[in-house]
């Protein structure tokens, strides 16, 4: 008798970065070209569950995702209770490069969504040689706040309800209920102050606009895919990035919102498979 496990395997990595030690949770599935996936603010690697369970992807790609420190099953560093968590631009960019190196990945493809879709622009600008292609989902180059994020970390408001309230509308209304609520559950499980701390990067210390001119898509191809229902990272912001970077390939995804890979995996694969096919042919 065999047990019908999913092909996804999770492990923990003791990881020292900038003088601090973290316990990082990393999961992966498949074999072939490494594809490193970055979750959104306040969430975790489970957003990529469908991609890792998609045989058409995993027969050619080794799909890997890690929970940022403080997120999912990755621990915050020792002494976390004495500090306020705030994700900064430099920390975010550098930790991705360091994780890829620690995992000994050979020029992985990197794909990030939302804050991840922003940070990959920094990777494209300054670490092009470390990656074979870059995919930004819901990418924007500059911060733009539209509500007071302090409510996400307020003792009078349950932080998981606040996170739910803040992001529940970002998905397309036609996305399946099961996947929408799975996506929201991940948000509800974030630690207090973590989503808020991630939005420090999204709304304050995360401007990459001035680096766009350093992106050379002949060295590292850049793909931008954005769901049309996302009023946080609007398609127009992605189109601006696409216009500023010669050679970037931009797709606006109809019927999807801010969490394309998680809110409607079946529809998302119709957009991402052709991109992964194209990248596989680059080799």
């Amino acid at each position: 008798m065999s047990v019908a496990f999913e092909p996804i395997v999770g492990r923990y990595l003791p990881f020292t970065f900038q003088g601090r030690t973290y316990r990082l949770y990393i999961e992966e599935a498949g074999q072939g070209i490494p594809l490193l996936c970055l979750h959104t603010a306040g969430s975790d690697t489970r957003q990529y569950r469908a991609l890792m369970n998609d045989a058409q992807v995993t027969q050619r790609y080794r799909v890997i995702a890690f929970d940022l420190p403080w997120h999912g099953k990755s621990s915050p560093p020792a002494g976390w209770h004495h500090e306020e968590y705030k994700l900064t631009r430099d920390f975010y960019i550098e930790i991705i490069v360091a994780v890829a190196r620690a995992l000994e990945l050979d020029r992985p493809v990197v794909m990030g969504c939302s804050i991840g879709g922003r940070v990959v622009l920094g990777l494209a600008a300054d670490h092009a040689d470390a990656f074979r292609a870059i995919i930004g989902l819901q990418s924007s180059a500059s911060p733009s706040a539209y509500y007071d994020i302090a409510w996400l970390d307020h003792p009078g408001v349950d932080h998981s309800e606040a996170a739910l309230g803040a992001v529940s509308g970002l998905m397309a209304p036609m996305s399946p209920d099961t996947e929408r609520w799975e996506t929201l559950w991940h948000y509800m499980q974030g630690g207090p102050g973590v989503f808020y701390g991630d939005l420090h990067f999204y709304t304050v210390d995360g401007d990459l606009h001035d680096r766009l001119r350093r992106i050379d898509t002949t060295r590292c191809p850049l793909y931008l895919l954005t769901g049309e229902y996302d009023y946080s990272c609007k398609p127009e912001y992605t189109l601006e990035v696409g216009k500023a970077v010669p050679g970037a390939k931009t797709t606006i995804m109809k019927g999807l919102g801010h969490f394309p890979m998680s809110e409607n995996p079946a529809l998302f694969r119709s957009f991402i498979l052709p991109v992964l096919d194209e990248i596989a042919r680059l080799d």
């Binding site: 509500y147 009078g156 739910l164 209304p173």
Partner: protein
């Protein structure tokens, strides 16, 4: 329009349960028209249409008629599927004491969304 809220909300056990600790009166504006919505433990006690001379409320959702009309379409166009989308588009403002709103955001979204496809904009 908003007068239908007691029927739409009070029969929805999941939504009433979500608001079980929520009792307040909030103001909804749709263009130049206003309604006071009184909530008691997740049930809509009353909906009163303005104009008001001495309205008392904890928070207000002041939106444009055009923004709400799009929000209430059976399948809203992009950005208009949620009250945060209306905020982003400049079609809605939150005012007043926002603590009870934030503490019960999903409930309030559920109440306003209950009017979707139910002639909310008529």
């Amino acid at each position: 329009m908003l007068e239908r809220l007691p029927d739409l909300v009070n029969g929805n056990a999941a939504l009433v349960r979500r608001g079980r600790h929520f009792s307040t009166t909030f103001l909804v504006e749709v263009g130049s028209h206003g309604w006071l919505v009184q909530v008691r433990e997740g049930r809509i006690d009353s909906v009163e249409r303005g104009p008001f001379r001495m309205a008392s409320w904890s928070f207000a959702l002041r939106g444009t008629a055009e923004g709400w009309a799009k929000f209430w379409q059976p399948v809203p166009p992009p950005y208009y599927q949620d009250i945060f989308g209306l905020l982003r588009q400049g079609e809605l403002r939150f005012e007043g004491d926002l603590l009870p709103l934030w503490a019960n955001m999903l409930y309030v979204k559920g109440v306003m969304g209950a009017l979707r496809g139910n002639g909310g904009a008529s």
